[in-house]
Amino acid sequence: MQELIRKIIGDAALQVGKVRLDAPGLVENGNAVPLTVSVESPMTEKDHVKAIHIINEKNPQPHVISVRLGPRAGRATLSTRIKLKDSQQLIAIAETSDGSFWTGTADVIVTLAACVEDRL
């Protein structure tokens, strides 16, 4: 996960702030965890969010999704549903047009269904 973060931000500093990662604190099933990322930004030509990356801590792969946007978005926000293998931390990194990186996190507890079947 650290490697992926380094790959995204390079030598730049990762500043905490501006990024809000909304995910449920506890989910009944890790197969479809809804989440929303919103980044504070005027979304003008001069000052906007270029990209949002979502990274996870404990899945087999750290990368979840990367989105590219621009001033035409109006507001920098993304909603999707993700798979989480286990209770873990989610990290969102926003890349702004001035080359800086901002981050926000969320912790999710994943519980399992009680009655499952034999076939997949």
């Binding site: 449920p24 399992l112 269904a113 009680a114 499952v116």
Partner: protein, 262 residues
């Protein structure tokens, strides 16, 4: 009354209370709650938003199949039933239902298959087939918001009672009955999961565990495996009896198809 007599009266009263508790009371109508009520805010939102509900993809598939001509005659569901929004309104809410022609109850999927073989002259679809689920989802979606209301008459009663017996029966390696969780312990937790009352309000459901749409049959199979009990073959009379009882037991609750469940 002397002391002995009053003790005897108390003991008898106590024994009677125990006897009542042991027959696991049905959930009274005013306490009936759909599995929806036991879900998190986020899952409720996923179900409610028809643009985000993954089960809606199957409903759209079902709509396409409804229009599709099948078999030598090229008849589609629409050929006989026209606009499903009108012809199928509140239909699924009455299933399972007693089918006179075959002399026993059938569920929605079986009814769809009978239409296919009798009226479209095409082979019935296997249970859990994507197209059968899509059609069932499309038809049941036309009952969304309608109260579940199955016919409980002289012909149906033996099957509903048969289903009730299975529901109350202790089964499997855990010697557990459906009633012990879903009548006696709904609202409590099993592991991290809230125990719902077990009403079939939104079938076919999009179950997150399956990452797909599935039938009540499939869900019941999951329950039985979870209980470490023998599962029934898909066309077993026990399954339809259990489905009939469950629908009767859910009377008054609104249909939600396609529901989302964990």
């Amino acid at each position: 009354m002397n002391a002995l007599a009053s003790v005897l009266v108390e003991l008898t009263a106590g024994a009677m209370l125990l006897a009542v508790a042991a027959t696991a009371a049905d959930i009274p109508a005013e306490e009936r709650r759909s599995g929806y009520d036991f879900m998190s805010r986020e899952l409720k939102a996923m179900q409610d938003d028809e643009a985000a509900n993954p089960g809606m993809l199957a409903v759209l598939d079902g709509e396409a199949i409804w229009q599709r001509g099948e078999g030598a005659g090229g008849k589609s569901c629409a050929t006989c039933h026209g606009d499903a929004r009108i012809s199928m309104k509140a239909v699924a809410a009455r299933y399972p239902t007693f089918d006179n022609a075959i002399g026993r109850p059938i569920d929605l999927e079986q009814r769809i298959n009978r239409c296919r073989s009798e009226h479209q002259q095409v082979a019935p679809l296997p249970f859990e087939h994507k197209d059968l689920l899509a059609l069932a989802a499309y038809v049941a979606h036309q009952s969304k918001g309608q109260p579940i209301s199955v016919t409980d008459d002289a012909r149906s009663r033996p099957f509903i009672e048969g289903g009730r017996e299975i529901f109350k029966l202790r089964q499997g390696q855990l010697n557990l009955s459906c009633a012990q969780c879903h009548d006696d312990n709904w609202g409590n937790h099993l592991g991290g999961a809230p125990i719902p009352q077990g009403h079939p309000t939104g079938y076919p459901i999009y179950r997150l565990e399956w990452q797909a749409l599935g039938s009540l049959r499939r869900r019941l199979r999951n329950c039985l495996i979870g209980m470490r009990a023998e599962t029934y073959p898909d066309d077993a009379p026990e399954i339809i009896a259990l489905e009939f009882y469950l629908a009767w037991r859910a009377g008054g609750l609104a249909m939600e198809t396609p529901a989302v469940r964990p």
